[in-house]
Structure formats: structure tokens, C-alpha cells
């Protein structure tokens, strides 16, 4: 078994080299990243509730399923303003669809739209993703559950129809993560589910051995499920056929991107209680596991996958959160893509290691200087002054204890566990390092964070943040940074490719800096961010070059204006 490499001399040299060989965009003078909490002002007056269980092991099961606070950003009514879908998880609690009123406020229209349901006696809502599965131009909605998923077809005029029954999405699973991407580039978006537990019904537990059988190398998790979109409104389970059936990890997050710059979408699976997995796309509908060579195996508690080119070297890197606290030093992993099929963890070296109990983390350029920053949420459970760890330690150190037995675990009661943690905002300094400035930016709240949705609420080019929290209210942060750089935002419209343009690679050159972005379909724990491509270009006042490589393989050179949202159609270019 190969252990993950720490940064090697060669990698360290590479880190230094790219910095000196690329031109750094000029920060606008005096720019400072600041966010304002507008949750209440925006009308987002909701709270998440984790599922309540009943019976002997209720508290333990609740603790192990304390996720489910997700947010998905999407313009469901195509009015040019992005809306928000929030999940809840307790029995009977509604999900929320907040329509953007174009004035900084939102209105919950979930009931009228028909997407509020999903939490019942048999199912627990856990995640959601917008995706246009039938390429009709209207974003549809997939709601993932511990149970069976729900597929809502967007009927237009603000109405949705539950089409799950005829969709083939009828397999029971304890799904905690979902992304939409076109793995076979056939023009239709497929779905990848990350499953935490094996497909056992936690709400009616027949057998107590459902928890991880090893806390550093568990092999009894739910793995993943890959659903192929047939193009006829149905999906088929192709997990085994695609080569993903052997994953038995406790999958918490799944992410996709073209890791090898060959036009095919690869995947990274972040697993709790054991190793993550890297799969490369063979281009024939199958994947091959390359974990051993790419990253090495690990024993950490993978929670998040986000994919971005943090150092502007033209290769997509991967950020994974783990648990880093006083009692457990599992550094987060920033997998720098070395361009040769291997990744090197540079988290410690570049300053993004210390995360607390990490959950979602998302890259974006929040000050439009051409370098992508990183916002991260953390915290498991903020409750009473007693710490659960002191209760847990005797169990963990009992010789021969069976971790998988739900009866082995002590109740958490009102104890805290890695609670009240301050959120991290890592500012990309443009020299291959980050500086943590959460307190300065105003986003260092201490809630029990889970998901992050990046959204441009008011189309002003300054990216805003939505943070979901377990058993707490979400927070909406408006980006009020002053003197930020110039920017472009592009809404992609595929024609031969999937309509959403997910998987499209956009390359930009401006102000002497080359950047790439790739449109993802829901990377990051419990969240989906804007499906617009956003670039900051610093003080540059024009784009020198902009190229889109669509999933179909078509390459378009496009001219777009700066400081506005543009719509670009495959083969046609700028449409508005």
C-alpha cells in the first residue's frame, strides 16, 4: 500500500517555478474582501433540522446522519437571476425554493412549485442538484435522499412535476452527495451518487452492524452509483459496467473534472473513515482506478471535493477537507496536479491545512484579481460545554470493540464535538500561497457549517456566499468588497453538448494572465454553486483571448464584454 506523498523537492521546485513564469494580474489598489450577512434582509428565514430517530440507538444514528443541510444554486425560471434551493431533513419538514426577487430579497415558492416534499417516514433528504436532464432549457431538480431519490421535471412557469416513477431512479441507497455530469459526452447529463451507508434502512433498523467497521480504513460503506442518462427521460444504473462497483467507502463527496486535459471527465471520491479514490475516464463509458499512482491511499476522513486550478498552471487541482482539530491532526489535502497523472499534497506548504472539522470548501475569485480564493465551512456539533470525546475515548480504546455495532457507541446527549469552530477564508495571494483572513472578511461565524453555494445574487460580478448549517439557519453573505478587479461571467448554452454546458473548459487570457475554469455539476459537499463561469481579471480592461472547449469536442473562440453577465451558445457565440 502506498502512502500519500508529502511534498517532494521536485514538487516544491514546481510550486516556485510556475509563480515566476506567469504574469500576476494586478490587484486593484486598496481592494479588500468583505462580506455582509444579509440573511434576514434577504428573507431567508428558515432552519435546517437533522432527522430525529426513535428507539434505543436514536442518538447514535442521528449523530451519524447529521448532514443533509444542502443548498443548490440555479436560475430555475431563466429570468437572469439565480435562485436557491435548500434542503431540510427531518420527517415532514419542507425543502425550500427561494426565488430571487432581483432586489436582494428572496421568496420561498417551494410549495407552489411542487418541490417542498421529500422528508417522510421512509426517506431523509440529503442533497440536491439542478441539471437540465432533457436539454429543454429549463433546469430540472434532483433531490437525493437516504432512501430513493426524487426527480422533478421543470414544467416552466414556476411549476415542477415529480417524474421519478418513470425515470428508473428507483434504487434504494443512503445517498449523501450527488453531481450531474456527462461522463460519456453523449450530450445528456448523467448522475453520480455518493452513498454513505450501505443500502440499509436506518429508519427501521433490523441489524445493528451498520456503522464503519474501521475508523481509518472502513470497507463497509455505500460506495457510489452511476446513473446513465439514456436521453429518453430515463436513467440506468451503470455502476458496475463503468468500473465503479468495487468502491466500498463511506462516500461523503464526489467531484468531477478533466484532470488530464484530454477532454474527458474524471472523478474524485472523498470517503469518510478511509481512503479516497481517483478514477480516470477511459473514453468508452468506463473508468479506471488510479488512486495508488495519482495520490496514494489514505486513512483520513474525506468530506469535500472541489476542483479548480488554484495556481493558474493550466491543470485542475483538487481540495479535500478532513478533520483537523486539537485531538486529530488530519490536514486537509490540496492535491496539486503535477500534469503527469500524479498529484502532490501541498496543503501544508501553501497554508490551507488547518480547517477544523471541515465540510464544504469552494474555490472562487472573490476579489476578481485572477486568483481563486477558498472559502471553507466547518464544525460538527455545537451544544453543551461537555465534550463528547471524553465519552467516546473509552469505547474506541476498548480491546476488540466492534465499531460497526451501533450499540457500541455512547449517546452524545447534549455534548459538543468539534463545535463552535470559526470558518476559514483563504485568500489566494497569487504566489502559490494562501492567507487565512476569515475574521477580516466577516465570514468567520461559528455555526455548524455543511454546504456552500457560490452565487452572484445581484449580477454585480462580486461573488456572494450561501452557507448551510446543520440544525441551524443558513447564512447568506453578500460580497461588499470595494475596489475589486474587472470580471466576466458567462452562462453557457450547449447545443450538441449538454444544454447546461457542464464539463466545458473555458480558457481566458487577460492582463498577461492565463486562467482556466471548468463548469461543474455540483462539486463540493452538500452544495451546488452558480453554473456561470466567472473570471476576475484584475485591472485588465479587455479580454485578449477566450476559448471554450465544449464537452462535444467543439472549440469556440468567443469575444465577450467585461463587467457583465454574457450568454454564449455552442457554435453561435455570444447571444446576449
Amino acid at each position: 500500500m502506498v502512502r500519500r506523498p508529502t511534498i517532494k523537492f521536485g514538487a516544491a521546485v514546481a510550486v516556485c517555478l510556475f509563480v515566476t513564469s506567469s504574469t500576476v494580474a494586478q490587484d486593484a489598489p486598496g481592494s479588500r474582501i468583505r462580506f455582509e450577512d444579509i440573511t434576514s434582509k434577504a428573507g431567508i428565514n428558515i432552519q435546517h433540522h437533522t432527522r430525529t430517530y426513535h428507539g434505543k440507538n436514536a442518538e447514535v444514528l442521528r449523530m451519524f446522519t447529521a448532514g443533509g443541510a444542502a443548498v443548490a444554486v440555479g436560475d430555475y425560471d431563466n429570468d437572469g437571476y439565480e435562485d436557491l434551493f435548500f434542503t431540510d431533513s427531518d420527517n415532514g419538514k419542507p425543502n425550500h425554493l427561494f426565488h430571487n426577487n432581483h432586489d436582494g430579497t428572496f421568496t420561498d415558492v417551494a410549495q407552489e412549485a411542487g418541490v417542498a416534499g421529500g422528508n417522510d417516514a421512509l426517506n431523509i433528504v440529503s442533497d440536491a442538484v439542478w441539471f437540465d436532464y432533457d436539454n429543454d432549457g429549463l433546469p430540472d431538480l434532483l433531490v437525493a435522499r437516504f432512501g430513493t431519490p426524487i426527480l422533478y421535471h421543470n414544467e416552466g412557469h414556476g411549476k415542477f412535476r415529480d417524474v421519478t416513477a418513470g425515470s428508473g431512479l428507483n434504487k434504494f441507497g443512503n445517498t449523501i452527495a450527488v453531481i450531474a455530469f456527462d461522463y460519456d459526452n453523449d450530450g445528456y447529463l448523467d448522475l453520480l451518487f455518493g452513498n454513505y451507508f450501505q443500502p440499509v434502512n436506518l429508519l427501521d433498523l433490523k441489524e445493528p452492524h451498520v456503522l464503519p467497521n474501521n475508523l481509518d480504513g472502513a470497507t463497509n460503506g455505500g460506495g457510489v452509483t452511476l446513473w446513465h442518462n439514456t436521453g429518453a427521460g430515463t436513467f440506468e444504473d451503470v455502476t458496475d459496467k463503468a468500473g465503479l462497483g468495487k468502491v466500498t467507502g463511506w462516500t461523503l463527496a464526489v467531484g468531477h473534472g478533466d484532470f488530464t486535459n484530454n477532454g474527458l471527465q474524471d472523478i474524485y471520491l472523498a470517503c469518510d473513515f478511509g481512503t479516497d479514490h481517483v478514477f480516470l475516464n477511459n473514453g468508452d463509458g468506463t473508468f479506471r482506478e488510479v488512486t495508488e499512482r495519482a495520490t496514494g491511499w489514505d486513512t483520513k476522513k474525506g468530506m469535500n471535493v472541489d476542483v479548480a486550478d488554484y495556481n493558474n498552471d493550466g491543470w485542475l487541482d483538487i481540495y479535500v477537507t478532513n478533520i483537523y482539530d486539537d485531538y486529530m491532526k488530519e490536514c486537509a489535502m490540496l492535491w496539486q496536479n503535477m500534469g503527469d497523472g500524479t498529484f502532490t499534497d501541498v496543503a501544508q506548504e501553501v497554508g490551507v491545512c488547518d480547517t477544523g472539522w471541515g465540510w464544504a470548501a469552494k474555490f472562487s475569485d472573490f476579489d476578481n484579481d485572477g486568483w481563486q480564493d477558498l472559502f471553507l465551512v466547518n464544525g460538527l456539533r455545537s451544544a453543551g460545554p461537555e465534550n463528547y470525546l471524553t465519552t467516546l475515548l473509552p469505547m474506541i480504546t476498548t480491546p476488540g470493540v466492534d465499531f460497526s455495532d451501533v450499540n457500541s457507541w455512547p449517546d452524545i446527549g447534549n455534548r459538543s464535538w468539534s463545535g463552535y469552530q470559526r470558518k476559514r477564508f483563504f485568500h489566494n495571494l497569487g504566489d502559490a500561497t494562501f492567507r487565512e483572513i476569515g475574521a477580516d472578511t466577516g465570514v468567520n461565524n461559528d455555526k455548524d457549517g455543511r454546504g456552500i453555494g457560490i452565487i452572484d445574487i445581484d449580477n454585480d460580478g462580486r461573488l456572494d456566499l450561501v452557507q448551510t448549517n446543520a440544525d441551524q439557519s443558513p447564512i447568506v453573505y453578500r460580497n461588499v468588497s470595494q475596489n475589486v478587479g474587472n470580471w466576466i461571467e458567462i452562462k453557457l448554452i450547449g447545443t450538441k453538448s449538454n444544454r447546461d454546458g457542464i464539463g466545458a473548459r473555458v480558457e481566458l487570457q487577460a492582463g498577461g494572465l492565463k486562467q482556466i475554469r471548468e463548469l461543474d455539476g455540483g462539486n463540493g459537499y452538500a452544495s451546488q454553486s452558480t453554473r456561470r463561469i466567472h473570471f476576475g481579471i484584475g485591472s485588465a480592461n479587455k479580454i485578449d483571448h477566450l476559448q471554450i472547449r465544449w464537452p462535444s469536442g467543439r472549440v469556440d473562440q468567443v469575444e465577450v464584454p467585461i463587467n457583465r453577465v454574457s450568454y454564449v451558445q455552442e457554435g453561435l457565440g455570444l447571444t446576449r
Binding site: 502512502r3 465534550n387 480504546t397
Partner: protein, 255 residues
């Protein structure tokens, strides 16, 4: 207290005598092992080291060299299994319990964070048995230092300090040994973890008077605040290999 010190001193003297009384058969195995290891023949080297330890289970050097070879060859479970088997035959051997504990410690850096806790706790149990069987300097020092690796939340630093104070008391009597400086360093670290900084500095300063060239003590006394805490915390990072080579002890006039 005086009675405790006397008993401890007697135990230490007994341990020294034991350490210096290797059997010819064991010594022959040991020589073959070292020759094989010099040729990077780990299979033969480990085999003969196991025979040497089995023939002379209380020999600190044999067991220590065995574990160091295991570390180089990354066969951590082999040494754990070996010492467990030896202890079944020699349950009263303090040295075997000590090395059994160290075998778990040696494995810690290559495991996941939860397994590290389990290994550390098992090692601690073995170190306690060592103390019970033979309350020597090395027994108290080892257990005391191992307590300091535990995160603050588990409140084990005070237990570590208590053991290290006993080790310090033992080393006040008899010949001064080079490795005694470790007790001063660790004791100060323990007080630092308990946020009793006056006592921490007192321990380090006392150590520096005894060992004026020791860099670890100088480094600690030169730092304050967060820098000092960072230095101490880095010292107890479970992902870094702890030096469990007892060479300094068995080579300092004892063998």
C-alpha cells in the same frame, strides 16, 4: 517518599545488573543478526534478533535493536506479535513490556488517526505494567513522556508530570547519565501543556544547569508565547516518528 526512592534505586540497580548479564547463546544470535543486517539481509537479521531476545528477554539492547530493524523493514505487526508471544512466556519481564509498548509506538506514524489513539492507549498499558514490575527511571520516563502525546482534552499531562517528577527524583541519586536531560525537557513540556509556565521554565532551567550544552533546553528557554507552544506541540505530533532507539541508555556505561 524515602522508602519509595530506596526501592526504586534498588530496582534500578537490579535492572542494570540484568542488562549486563547476557548469555553466550543470546550473544551469538545477536552477533549473527547484526552481521546479517549490515548486509541488508533483514530476514536473517530479524530471525536471529528474535532468537537473541527469546534467549535473553530482559536485554534492553537486543530488543531495542530488533525494533529499530523492524522500523527500517516496516514490519510493525511482526514485532507486536513477537513481543506478545514472548510475554506469554515471560509475563514478569519489565523489559519485554517496555519494548512491547514501544512496538506499538513505533507503528503509530504509519497508521490513521483513530488507530493512533488505539495504539497509544495500548502502549500506555504496557508502560504501566513496566512501572508496576520495575519502577525504574526508564519506566517512569517512558510512561510520563507518552502521556504528553495525548491531546489536552483527555487531561493526561498531569499524569505525565507526576511520572516525570519520579524519574527526576530517581536520577538525583547515583551516577549522572547523559540521557537524564530528557526528563528535564519532558517535565518542562508537561508543565507547559498544563499551562504552568513558571514550573516549565524552572524544569528547563534546572536541566540547563545540569546539561549546559543541551540544545532542546536552550530552544525552549529562548521562546515565549505562541512560538513556544508551537515548538512543544510539534514535538508531540503523532504523525512524526518518536525516537525509541534506546542506544543512549544501553551504551552509557551499561553495556
Amino acid at each position: 517518599m524515602k522508602r519509595f526512592l530506596l526501592l526504586s534505586l534498588l530496582a534500578l540497580v537490579w535492572a542494570m545488573c540484568t542488562l549486563s548479564a547476557a548469555s553466550p547463546a543470546a550473544d551469538a544470535e545477536f552477533r549473527q543478526a547484526m552481521a546479517a543486517l549490515q548486509l541488508n539481509d533483514f530476514a536473517t537479521g530479524l530471525h536471529h534478533l528474535e532468537l537473541a531476545v527469546a534467549a535473553d528477554p530482559d536485554n534492553l539492547r537486543y530488543a531495542s535493536e530488533y525494533r529499530q530493524a523492524i522500523i527500517r523493514h516496516k514490519e510493525f505487526d511482526r514485532s507486536i506479535d513477537f513481543f506478545a508471544k514472548q510475554l506469554a512466556d515471560h509475563p514478569a519481564s519489565a523489559n519485554l513490556h517496555l519494548n512491547y509498548g514501544f512496538a506499538y509506538v513505533d507503528k503509530i506514524p504509519v497508521t490513521g488517526s483513530i488507530t493512533q489513539v488505539i495504539l497509544a492507549n495500548t502502549a500506555l498499558g504496557e508502560f504501566s505494567k513496566t512501572v508496576d514490575l520495575q519502577p525504574s527511571w526508564i519506566a517512569y520516563y517512558t510512561r510520563g513522556a507518552s502521556y504528553l502525546f495525548w491531546p489536552r482534552i483527555f487531561n493526561k499531562a498531569s499524569l505525565g508530570v507526576a511520572d516525570l517528577e519520579k524519574a527526576l527524583a530517581l536520577q538525583q541519586n547515583g551516577q549522572k547519565r547523559s540521557y537524564y536531560v530528557r526528563a528535564y525537557v519532558a517535565l518542562g513540556d508537561g508543565y507547559c501543556k498544563m499551562e504552568e509556565m513558571d514550573k516549565a521554565w524552572a524544569a528547563w532551567q534546572q536541566g540547563l544547569r545540569q546539561f549546559p550544552d543541551n540544545q532542546q533546553l536552550k530552544d525552549r528557554l529562548a521562546l515565549h508565547g505562541d512560538e513556544l507552544v508551537k515548538l512543544i506541540e510539534n514535538n508531540f505530533d503523532p504523525n512524526k516518528r518518536v525516537d525509541t532507539d534506546l542506544r543512549e541508555i544501553w551504551s552509557d556505561g551499561q553495556r
